[in-house]
């Protein structure tokens, strides 16, 4: 999707209520082209929740969100072309080989059928090209995680939403991930990454604890 302006993503007054508890409220976030925003905060502060809400897996409890210039409330389907999402779980099928897994992902989620060279290029970024025809069930957990990250290279999407991408990666692979992120930012893309680790890339930090729910109580209606 062609981004006209520099603002890739703009969320204002976002809030989330989960399990009867306000996770965050009054949250504003703006992602510019070429920028990295790191989400920091302790467990339970809502990093994963925010990433999922921006991706569209959680509905908006409050506030507005614009992605690629379009308000998601008016055009829910529009954002699918604009982002790559990577969550806690890998979404790989053990019975199939890496090439098949990536092809299936590409066809069903990204919307195109990749040829072999695309697969090779994407997997080479994470040093997995040699394993393209090996079934996933023989992969170590680190290799599986890298396979999930390799999807980032299948198609260019301006916004990357990554939830704990460094988990289970050794230093060499963290460096590879950093390289990929830097290339993406240099090409005009943006990334919002939730992580406990230091990625080693310059960017803004969004401290989740600033938007804590505090005294708000969604179950207060019971005692009204």
């Amino acid at each position: 999707m062609k981004i006209e302006s520099d603002i890739l993503l703009s969320g204002s007054n976002l809030a989330s209520v989960r399990g009867g508890r306000v996770v965050y409220t009054g949250l504003n976030i703006q992602l510019m082209a070429g920028a990295l925003i790191t989400l920091e905060g302790p467990n339970g502060s809502g990093k994963s929740t925010l990433i999922r809400q921006l991706a569209g897996l959680l509905s908006l409890t409050a506030g507005t969100l614009q992605i690629a210039g379009l308000d998601v409330a008016e055009d829910p389907g529009a954002r699918s072309d604009s982002l790559h999402f990577s969550g806690h779980t890998n979404g790989l099928k053990p019975a199939f080989d890496l090439a098949t897994n990536l092809t299936l992902y590409s066809e069903t989620v990204l919307g195109f059928r990749p040829n072999r060279s695309v697969l090779e290029a994407a997997t080479a970024s994470f040093d997995l090209a040699a394993l393209l025809d090996t079934p996933i069930r023989y992969f170590s957990s680190g290799q599986q995680h890298r396979s999930a990250l390799a999807r980032l290279g299948l198609a260019h999407r301006p916004i990357w939403l990554l939830d704990e991408p460094t988990v289970g990666l050794d230093q060499a692979n963290r460096d590879r991930l950093r390289t990929q992120i830097e290339l993406h930012l240099a090409a005009g893309g943006g990334a919002i990454i939730a992580t406990h680790d230091d990625l080693g890339i310059a960017g803004d930090i969004l401290q989740m604890t600033e938007f804590r729910g505090g005294r708000d109580d969604p179950e207060a209606w019971l005692w009204d």
């Binding site: 009867g20 508890r21 409890t61 409050a62 109580d217 209606w221 005692w223 009204d224």
Partner: protein, 266 residues
């Protein structure tokens, strides 16, 4: 600071305010229970002593005075569950979901009552306790299963908000069974007689049977409303307890919760 809770509890909140609901329920309950008791007493009297015994079905026809109202109410209760579920999904107010949850066991009990009284009525008349080929009987049985599934789903889901929505979707999918029950006696000609009360020509039942039946129907309606009000209060209290237990465990205090001594005994 904005309260996110207010965003998904909308204007309906003013009308569905729990404390106001409980006060209203407490004021109405004595009246409704009185109506129920009086109508049951009068209806029972007329049913047993004044109305004629049907020449074909003899004394057992008197079971009709329970069977017909409970059959009607079992379907009505399901509609209450479905409407409350729909209201909850659209206006997002938790009280709607609690109403649906409260109504379901009542509906299940009424459905079971319908099946049992129908069986007792049917045996001397048709010679069988159950007739699988009868469309209305089998679709009422299916209604019982739908209630069971709905209640089981509430039981098995941990997250309250997800349970509200999942059970609501289930209730709405099952609502198609109601017209099937209502019209099945018209579509298939088996044991049940055709519609005899709600018809374009007016009721065809013997007029002496109409009065006790009418009284019993009012009695059942009043009883349903009373029981529903009490159960909604119960579900509200249950929810309060769950929320307080949850906040104890997670270390957060629900700032607006009163001290436990202030919880109503009901």
């Amino acid at each position: 600071m904005q309260r996110p809770g207010r965003d998904y509890i909308t204007a309906m909140h003013r009308f569905a305010n729990p404390a106001r609901f409980v006060r209203l329920a407490d004021r109405l309950l004595p009246w409704i229970i009185s109506v129920a008791v009086i109508c049951f007493a009068l209806g029972g009297y007329f049913a047993i002593f004044s109305s004629p015994a049907d020449y074909q079905q003899m004394e057992t026809v008197r079971i009709m005075y329970i069977h017909v109202p409970s059959a009607w109410m079992s379907m009505l209760t399901y509609i209450i569950v479905a409407v409350a579920s729909f209201t909850g999904l659209v206006w997002r107010h938790p009280l709607a979901f609690l109403t649906a949850k409260a109504a379901a066991p009542i509906g299940a009990a009424l459905t079971a009552l319908t099946l049992i009284t129908g069986s007792i009525w049917g045996y001397p008349t048709w010679g069988t306790w159950w007739e699988w080929a009868d469309a209305r009987m089998t679709s009422v049985l299916v209604l019982l299963f739908l209630y069971a599934g709905y209640m089981a789903m509430w039981q098995m889901m941990d997250d309250f908000d997800k349970a509200c929505r999942a059970t609501s979707i289930l209730a709405l999918v099952g609502v198609i069974n109601i017209p099937i029950i209502k019209f099945s006696v018209d579509w298939w000609n088996t044991l049940h007689q055709g519609a005899s009360i709600v018809r374009s020509g007016g009721p065809t039942i013997h007029s002496e049977m109409q009065l006790p039946l009418f009284l019993m129907i009012i009695a059942f309606h009043a009883w349903l409303i009373a029981l529903l009000l009490k159960r909604v209060k119960l579900e509200l209290d249950r929810r309060k307890v769950a929320v307080m237990q949850q906040s104890l465990a997670s270390g957060l205090a629900h700032q607006l919760a009163p001290a436990p001594e202030k919880l109503e005994g009901q």
